[in-house]
Symmetry: C2
Subunit: 170 residues, 2 copies
């Protein structure tokens, strides 16, 4: 399963493409889209849309995994994150791709075994799982890869459980 | 000044076009874009994008006025509102149009004289200001018109103050 992980943001939007199945994952691409906070908000969204759309066309993931953001931190940053999330939803919908959301806790638990792991531990495990020589930087890039791994592993598991449940019903 | 007011939302997105200058305003168009909450979030955003883009092309406003949303109400509704706001930002940026934000308090103060007016008072004043025979319904449509009136009046005032300040500096 090829997954594009998106750590949504306007200042930095982390993107990571992973091919994975439960227990295994290889990195296809990683990067960060940056827009200056001094730029017009609409222009920033247009730029993220162009870049994100380019990644979808170039790497052709089957699904887009986005970090689910909660409104419990600073209001302005939640809003720009929500705007970047909307761009991901639009870009995916335009290409007929499903979007799934995972919470930071789910992502941390999937890659480190603990929902309370810190950023350094997440980066360390992502580096080890993907067999990378150097840790992906910045943290947004590592987070996007972690999201993609999380979905490739959990998504396959969920699909298997759904299939088992359906088989049991027959 | 022709303004498109947008009361952002996915279940109901209010749209109102007003031609106005301080103390005067006439309605050009009003409507609501609705998408079912059962639909795919990305598909909902695409639909709002198509409709909103159509309004911009048809009515050619000079500026888009959007309600500034705060994250102090329910989290899920703030997120979908922020997603709809992102669509407005993208549609406007694609056409080179400026987007301005006004808080609910600013809008209420502009049309009723009180920042603490209730929805019924806002609808009543919008109806009176625009000389309409019937009140615009639902409230989202009236709110979009109120936003457009607010900006047509405040925007012109702000531009005048800026010009006076510049003249004083010379």
């Amino acid at each position: 399963m090829r997954v594009l992980g998106v750590d949504p943001g306007l200042t930095r939007c982390g993107l990571g493409v992973v091919d994975g199945r439960p227990g295994r994952a290889t990195m296809v691409a990683v990067g960060v889209v940056r827009t200056p906070s001094s730029a017009d908000p609409g222009e920033r969204l247009l730029y993220v849309e162009t870049e994100l759309g380019g990644w979808l066309d170039r790497f052709a993931p089957e699904v887009v995994a986005v970090e689910r953001v909660f409104a419990d931190v600073n209001v302005a940053s939640v809003m720009t994150t929500a705007h970047a999330t909307a761009v991901a939803l639009l870009c995916a919908a335009r290409r007929g791709l499903p979007v799934v959301f995972h919470t930071p806790t789910e992502v941390k638990a999937a890659v480190t075994g603990s929902g309370r792991a810190d950023k350094a531990q997440v980066t360390q495990m992502v580096t080890r799982i993907l067999g990378l020589d150097v840790a992906p930087r910045p943290a947004d890039a590592a987070d996007a890869l972690a999201l993609a791994i999380c979905h490739a592993w959990r998504g396959a598991q969920d699909a298997r459980l759904t299939a088992l449940a359906e088989a049991a019903r027959r």
